[in-house]
């Protein structure tokens, strides 16, 4: 999320006119994509469950080992399930809306290349998320590696699908940052990750002296659970719905 925020704030595009509505990102309507979409949630949560004891014992090492695995899972997921930014499918979704400006199609943009580009941008967004963790009170000088890896997982789960699907289109990213875009698997995953990580901080201060209270185990668990649940719910039940109540527009005159 944060990467999107920062991009939005420094963006130069002119968008003072009323925004054209941003469409939701659909998943491909085929059996493979449905299966992968569901399978990803199972694989991620299964991975977390399987590695939980390792995570508690050696958070940094476990998170580090998991980064490439999760990256592969996520790349496979976006390539097989989501339309890449600027691709035909993405356009198709937007087409019915009148007044939409047509962009020249980027020639030869295959999904995989988009995914790799998005992965690079996601990597760049990781320090921003790291900073956000620190702003919420994470230690600045201690546990730097743990915090950074936690931020990397956050970026992979929450930010990567959005960049893949939205590209660097300023208008969409501002809509995503303002949560005024309609709910879909990508935005749901991000919101879920934010909420999950937020709730994950709740048990940290308790004096229960449990091993799993070590930084950043609860955050990682929260963000995985939140992202998976959020992505799943937004892809199915709440697909296309807009969160109107979270911001002033609802009560503007």
């Amino acid at each position: 999320m944060s990467s999107a925020l920062v991009k939005g704030s420094s963006a130069q595009a002119t968008d003072t006119k009323p925004k054209a509505a941003i469409a939701a990102v659909p998943t491909f309507n085929n059996a493979l994509s449905k299966g992968v979409s569901f399978g990803r949630v199972a694989v991620l949560l299964g991975l977390l469950a399987a590695q939980f004891n390792e995570l508690v014992a050696q958070p940094a090492l476990t998170l580090q080992t998991a980064v490439p695995v999760v990256a592969v899972v996520q790349v496979a997921y976006v390539v097989l399930c989501l339309p890449a930014a600027g691709s035909q499918q993405a356009k198709a979704a937007k087409k019915p809306r009148p007044g939409e400006k047509k962009k020249p199609e980027a020639a030869g943009t295959s999904s995989l290349v988009t995914a790799l580009l998005a992965l690079v941008l996601t990597t760049i967004s990781t320090p921003v998320i790291h900073a956000l963790f620190i702003l919420f009170g994470a230690p600045l000088l201690d546990h730097v590696l743990e915090t950074f890896l936690c931020a990397a997982h956050f970026a992979l789960l929450g930010v990567f699908p959005i960049i893949y699907a939205r590209g660097v289109d300023n208008q969409s990213l501002v809509a995503v940052a303002g949560v005024s875009a309609p709910l879909d698997e990508t935005l749901g995953g991000l919101l879920g990750a934010v909420l999950g990580a937020w709730l994950g901080a709740v048990p940290i201060p308790l004096d229960w002296d449990r091993d799993w209270q070590t930084w950043p185990v609860t955050i990682v668990c929260g963000l995985y659970a939140g992202s998976c649940v959020g992505s799943w719910l937004s892809g199915t039940v709440f697909y296309g719905k807009r969160i109107g109540g979270t911001a002033p527009p609802a009560k503007e005159e």
């Binding site: 925020l5 939005g8 704030s9 002119t14 968008d15 003072t16 009323p18 925004k19 956000l132 620190i134 702003l135 919420f136 009170g137 501002v174 809509a175 940052a177 303002g178 949560v179 005024s180 934010v194 937020w198 901080a201 201060p205 308790l206 004096d207 109540g245 979270t246 911001a247 002033p248 527009p249 609802a250 009560k251 503007e252 005159e253």
Partner: protein, 1065 residues
């Protein structure tokens, strides 16, 4: 999404407004000229008409001002009622919960026994022979086994035995086998059963309460008369091994070379303290060490820690008790004939191994006394075997005090309420009634002496009816009683006196606590209803000068009709309070009070009932006014966020962890709000507004995190916290490098404030002088003060100036700053014109008049008020805290900008975030929710000695600086970027203030409920009780600041602005 262009035009584009205004003015002038021409032929001249209009306008303004003043008084009346409600609720709860005891300064002395005319054989008045009673032992060894419950020491049928049974048989066995050498009895603690409170009881002989109102409120050291003080004053030497709690209670009492304190808080460590005691005690018991000590205290913590860690029924407890058994046997073998050995527990433990409360298991400890030479007796053969349960023949823990004092030949401490233990004075045959009567008479006389002075000091009326201590005292002193009868009579007196004091001090008064919680809860419902947003409210910020002008003309034309119209909110507060004047309410209250007074009912129940009735009256008025109970429910995301933040903060107080880590949690809340508002800012349509909102939000979050580096850790946060507030953990002075901070504040802060005023063109009129010179000047003087203070502390200028020169320079400097910021500042605030400036330019169409600062006329001027307070608080806060408070002001300004840009002025989130910020900066200015973090030395910043009421005020400003600045800034949320023609400012400010106060009221209600509910919790006196006291004090302080600063400030501000622009409503 609807566009926000109108907002941009209103709020930011001031030139445009001014142009419109000028255009309107020019048009009017032209129109008036035409009219004048038209009517010049015979009708009233233009001048006359203008004069009439002016007169009418004046009349209207005066009328409106008077109406405003009446409205303001009614508002203040309502707030005073609110303050009274809070005060009654807190009073009820505190009087049931915080039982106070007055500490008497008197000390017993060897030469002045409480009984006159003692024979020389009885009282030698000489420490060598025994002061008031012949000395029996030269020395004493006291082994305190923490949490030694009575049933640990008596035999249990092996079939039914638990892990804690039958492992410490030595005490029981010796008492049975050699009754003249030893006895074992249950030893009942007076709750609270925490070690610190127990040690107070075991050494002073009095009942501990949470607050011992005495001279030494700030520290933990005991300054009332006690055994250790008497020993030291008699020239005896005390050695101590084990739990370091003793050292904070009795600093300077222990022989430095042979005593060894050990850390008491590491509950997981079962052995370090015990091994330390065991290893160090035996060398001291060798005869070669004679004369090095007269009282040797060994305080073992293993049993207590085993209980906390595993619970009593665990093999670790068995091992620990077996170790203690062996240890005591070895000590008993090592002492000589003239040494008394005492083994005791300071409290018991409950089924889980914890303690602190007043359950039977927690108060039932064991006492065992041992002497190598036959000494102890039993007055009856039934007493030969130690009691089978703690319910039989128990001894009060305070009874140890007179017993040990008389046996060692020192005076009984003045405040003692205990009585001598029978076995120690009954003689070996158990029939020395003369001795028993003598010691009992001594102890009783001491109690009677204390009773007289305590009741006199407290002004309590004493009854003399049969059965009262006074009557029993008369009976016991009657002439011609046999020794045994006299002994019985004195014992009866002692028991009764103790009961009286227990009633006075040592019990929670649950009905009162419940009444307090109830009244506070009902008061909170009323407050929240008052603070809720009325369904029809529209707080539209309309800064349209043309519209204002048109309206004003209309008003003038309809002046006569307007006379009959009232302001829509004119009667609002009056009607609210009017609910109280209802004949039925008055009748019921009158009857209740009359009956209560006539039947001499207790005051508390009556007060609770009456206040509840009055609140109900106001609640029903509120419902009539449209703010129903259902209206409380939040309707927007921001409403929910406010409720979630408020409630989760307060619910967290039920857990000691969340109470301990409150500062980190508040930072988390600040960041949470920041992210929420960042998302909201991305939805702002106008690009400029959006960029500004995002910029201010990010600044807001980053400043919060930056400020979090100023911290003072509380004991319980260790080792996960590093204090940065002082130069080191053991010091309360600032590090030299921290002096950079006040100078940085002096250079940067005025420019930051200027930067917030410039966009609305409000850095006009007095602002450059006020902020750029006066405010900056006082910041510089504060920095100078702290430099002098550091120089004084560090002796940097010792060769050049004497300490007193530096001190007096500092004090006069501080007084100057306070006079400048508070007295001159407030006076100027009352008289200052608005921050506007009128610019006339020649344009093609005629003269153009531009009013700079029109759109923020209300807010920019009000800002002076928090700044005045800030200047005073920065002086009274240590250098690190001045940086924190400067950041706070920056954050507040960001907050009001964010609130304005996101149009959240009528949401609850603004005041709620101010409350969060206020609490956050309480921690960032070197405070914690513990008594020990109060910076008492701040009383001496502007004064040489304690002077009332100035010293408490200085400490108050230092302690609650964050919350006070936040409270004074609440109207800023409503007033910022609001022009002079805004309607309903007073009501909106009062409502914002109500939300702010509600945050603190919820905190007070939650902390009092948890403290009452968890009154048996181990952490009650360390965590829950101090947090309740903080919340209670804060609620009252915020009520006062809200009325005396914020509401008065809003009134002064509105009067000054409307003086210039005319009254709009």
């Amino acid at each position: 999404m609807p566009p926000r262009s109108s907002k941009a035009a209103d709020g930011l584009d001031f030139k445009a407004i001014s142009k419109q205004f000028a255009k309107a003015k020019a048009a009017r002038e032209a129109r008036e000229a035409q009219e004048a021409e038209a009517v010049a032929k015979g009708l009233p001249t233009e001048k006359e008409q203008t004069a009439i209009l002016e007169a009418q306008r004046d009349k209207l303004n005066k009328k409106r001002q008077r109406a405003y003043e009446r409205r303001w008084w009614w508002t203040t009346g309502f707030w005073t009622f609110l303050l009274a409600v809070h005060a009654v609720g807190l009073w009820l709860f505190s009087s049931g919960f915080l039982l106070t005891r007055l500490v008497l300064e008197d000390k017993s002395s060897c030469a002045a026994p409480p009984v006159e005319g003692l024979a020389a054989s009885q009282a030698a008045l000489d420490v060598q022979k025994g002061c008031w009673h012949p000395k029996q032992f030269d020395r004493a060894v006291v082994i305190l086994i923490d949490a030694l419950r009575y049933d640990f020491t008596i035999p249990e049928d092996p079939a039914a035995a638990h892990a804690f049974h039958n492992s410490l048989p030595f005490l029981y066995d010796t008492a049975v086998k050699t009754p003249q050498n030893a006895f074992l009895r249950p030893f009942i603690a007076d709750p609270p059963t925490t070690t610190l409170q127990r040690l107070k009881g075991l050494t002073t002989g009095t009942l501990p309460t949470f607050i011992d109102a005495g001279s030494n409120f700030a520290g933990t050291a005991i300054d009332e008369d006690n055994l250790l003080m008497q020993l030291r004053d008699s020239g005896k030497k005390i050695a101590h091994l084990g739990d370091d709690t003793w050292w904070s209670l009795f600093p300077g009492h222990f022989e430095p070379n042979i005593s060894k304190p050990y850390d008491s808080f590491n509950v997981w460590d079962l052995h370090t303290v015990d091994n330390g005691v065991i290893d160090n005690i035996f060398p001291l018991l060798e005869s070669s060490k004679d004369g090095q000590w007269d009282l040797l205290i060994g305080h073992c913590l293993g049993v207590d820690h085993a209980g906390h860690r595993y619970g009593p029924d665990h093999s670790a407890m068995t091992a620990k008790l077996l170790q203690m058994n062996e240890f005591i046997a070895k000590v008993a073998g090592s002492i000589d004939d003239d040494t008394l050995l005492i083994v005791m527990g300071d409290h018991g433990m409950d089924g889980k191994g914890d303690h602190g409360g007043e359950s039977d298991d927690e108060v039932e400890a064991a006492l065992w006394m041992y002497s190598k030479r036959p000494f102890f007796g039993r007055t009856s053969s039934e007493f030969a075997i130690p009691p089978a349960t703690a319910k039989i023949r128990p001894v009060n823990q305070i009874d140890l005090v007179p017993t040990l004092a008389l046996l060692l030949g020192i005076p009984i401490p003045y405040n003692n309420l205990g009585k001598p233990i029978e076995e120690a004075f009954a003689g070996q045959k158990g029939n020395n009634w003369a001795n028993l009567a003598a010691v009992s008479r001594l102890a009783s006389a001491g109690i009677e002496r204390y009773r007289q002075s305590y009741f006199k000091a407290r002004g309590i009326h004493q009854t003399t009816e049969p059965g009262s201590p006074a009557a029993l005292w008369e009976l016991a002193n009657a002439a011609g009683l046999k020794d045994k009868d006299a002994y019985d009579a004195f014992t009866k007196f002692e028991d009764e006196a103790l009961q009286v004091y227990k009633g006075l001090w040592a019990r929670f008064d649950v009905p009162r606590m419940v009444a307090g919680v109830f009244v506070t809860a009902v008061g909170l419902v009323m407050l929240v209803m008052y603070a809720s947003k009325p369904a029809d409210e529209e707080f539209v910020v309309a800064n349209d000068a043309e519209l204002d002008y048109a309206e004003r003309r209309l008003e003038l034309m309809n002046l006569n009709q307007e006379d009959k119209e009232e302001h829509p909110d004119q009667g609002y507060h009056r009607r609210l309070l009017g609910g109280l004047a209802d004949a039925r309410v008055l009748f019921v209250v009158g009857v209740l009070v009359a009956v209560g007074v006539y039947r001499e009912q207790p005051l508390d129940g009556l007060a609770a009932l009456v206040v509840t009735l009055l609140i109900t009256g106001v609640i029903s008025s509120l419902s009539t006014a449209g703010k129903t109970l259902a209206n409380i429910l939040p309707k927007t995301f921001w409403g929910w966020l406010s409720v979630i933040l408020t409630l989760s903060h307060s619910i967290g107080f039920a857990s000691n962890s969340y109470t301990i880590w409150e500062d980190s949690i508040l930072l988390f809340f600040i960041a949470t709000f920041g992210v929420a508002v960042l998302i909201s800012s991305f939805r702002i349509e106008s690009k400029i507004d959006r960029t500004m909102a995002i910029y201010h939000t990010i600044t807001f979050i980053v400043i919060g995190r930056l400020a979090s580096y100023s911290k003072l850790c509380r004991e319980e946060q260790m080792p996960y916290c590093t204090s940065t507030y002082y130069s080191s953990v053991t010091s309360s002075t600032s590090a030299p490098w921290q002096l950079v901070i006040p100078f940085a504040v002096f250079i940067i802060l005025p420019d930051v404030i200027k930067a917030f005023l410039l966009p609305s063109k409000s850095y006009e009129s007095l602002a450059p002088t006020w902020i750029g010179y006066a405010f900056r000047g006082s910041l510089f003087l504060s920095a100078l003060y702290w430099t002098i203070d550091s120089a004084n502390n560090g002796g940097w200028l010792a060769e050049r100036f004497s300490e007193s020169t530096l001190k007096s320079t500092g004090v006069y400097l501080a007084q100057t700053i306070l006079a400048l910021s508070l007295i001159v500042g407030s006076t100027s605030f009352a008289w200052a014109p608005p921050n506007i400036s009128i610019l006339s330019t020649q344009a093609k169409t005629g003269q153009l008049v531009t009013i700079l600062g029109y759109g923020n006329a209300m807010g920019a001027r009000y800002l002076y008020l928090p700044l005045n307070l800030l200047a005073a608080c920065i002086l009274l806060t240590k250098p690190m805290g001045s940086g924190a408070l400067a950041l706070m002001m920056w954050q507040i300004l960001c907050l009001v900008e964010i609130i304005d840009l996101n149009q959240l002025k009528s949401e609850a989130i603004g005041p709620v975030m101010l409350a969060v910020l206020g609490n956050f900066y309480f921690f960032k200015t070197g405070h914690q929710a513990v008594l020990s973090s109060i910076q008492w030395d701040s009383a001496f910043i502007p004064l040489f000695s304690i002077r009332y009421p100035w010293s408490p005020l200085a400490v108050g400003l230092n302690t609650f600086a964050g919350q006070i600045i936040a409270a004074a800034s609440v109207p800023l949320v409503v007033l910022w970027k609001v022009g002079p023609k805004q309607r309903g400012v007073l009501e909106k400010s009062a409502r914002a203030l109500a939300v702010f106060i509600a945050y603190f009221a919820v905190e007070a209600l939650a902390t009092m409920s948890w403290a009452g509910w968890l009154r048996r919790h181990l952490m009650l006196y360390r965590v829950f009780c101090p947090r309740f006291m903080l919340a209670a004090l804060l609620l009252l302080a915020m009520d006062l600041v809200g009325v005396l600063v914020s509401l008065v400030g809003v009134r002064t501000n509105t009067m000054a602005v409307c003086e210039v622009f005319g009254w709009v409503e």
